[in-house]
Symmetry: C2
Subunit: 212 residues, 2 copies
């Protein structure tokens, strides 16, 4: 009966079929339960229903697994941000608001990915592919700032890089302090989304960028 899929674990017989993916999924679950520090190789193998030696066929060590999870996180993140920005349609203001909401939404709905990306102690310089994916997600934010700056006459435009870093820091600060999906969130008397939206509006106003 080895050609039947095992109903419990979804694997067929001796070979797993897609252990790489299964390990990543298992790791995400573990991170969400115990934080990025609580992820162990042995645990991930167990959760994937496989012997402790099996993960070595796919990842050199725990760090490489974490880097792959972060890579996947940044890819999803970039996708969500790009969808939210929607090429600045219907207008750049709305786009940026949606971008902010998407940032917070990601932190809340994917706390494991978020933790792997920003709080796992990963040194991006050691993982070029992950770093490149991180850059791509930042690029969405930067492009949107470029578009907003372009609503002002040339010569009065604020530097888009600076804008992007400011808004990133603001979004990240709010996500990390008030918007996370776990027990370490700090309580505030309003939704994190509202807090961020207000901050961005005040900030843009300070730059002289106003909704037309």
């Amino acid at each position: 009966m080895t050609w039947h899929k095992d109903r419990q674990s979804g694997r067929k017989g001796y070979h797993h079929g897609n252990l790489r993916e299964a390990l990543i999924d298992a790791a995400l679950k573990l991170i969400s339960e115990k934080g990025p520090g609580g992820l162990t190789f042995a645990d991930a193998a167990r959760a994937a229903g496989v012997s402790g030696a099996a993960p070595y066929r796919h990842f050199r060590d725990r760090d490489e697994l974490m880097a792959h999870i972060a890579l996947r996180g940044y890819e999803q993140f970039a996708g969500k941000l790009a969808d939210a920005w929607n090429d600045g349609q219907p207008d750049a203001f709305t786009g940026l608001e949606n971008l902010g909401k998407a940032y917070l939404g990601f932190a809340r709905s994917e706390p494991s990915l978020f933790a792997a990306m920003f709080e796992s102690g990963l040194v991006l310089a050691d993982h070029p592919k992950t770093a490149a994916a991180a850059d791509r997600s930042f690029e969405v934010l930067r492009a949107s700032c470029e578009a907003l700056a372009a609503t002002k006459p040339a010569g009065e435009r604020p530097p888009a890089l600076m804008m992007a870093l400011h808004i990133w820091a603001l979004s990240h600060g709010i996500a990390a302090l008030f918007g996370r999906g776990d027990a370490t969130r700090r309580a505030i008397p309003m939704p994190a989304e509202d807090l961020l939206e207000a901050a961005v509006l005040v900030y843009l106003d300070g730059l002289g960028i106003v909704r037309t």
Copy 2:
């Protein structure tokens, strides 16, 4: 010769004298080397030159040790912030700029304390004393925003709580992403302090709060 201080470890004879403090110091060193997740009870005992069972006389478990470190961190943090704010002297603008610099300076010069406070997975609700110390440091920021808001005529004043949360998130985002003192810092083409100062000025401008 047991009454002589041991020259190596600074302890005298059988009794340590100040093990509690020594454990905290040792833990800080370990956190700075391996991150908050890398802190173990056994390691801290070893670094303090004491047997593995000794720490149990002072802390129930690793979590309680971490909470004490965070407590100490918030106390120092509140002190530095209050010094920087300096009761709004010579003026509230300068005070807030100094506050921002102090936030980043703390994150950079005390990465271990910063990590224990914000990235150790500590649930503040479980540690009331630590939570209270955290509130006290936020209170400095809030008071400074109160003073800045008060430069505007009553009726046009922005809510100080919102301002404080915005500036906290901004400072924290910049510190966490670009200003930390370890290898996980992301590179940007300007000092974190300049980035923060620019953001705060734009933000205040957006609120109509300008240097007089």
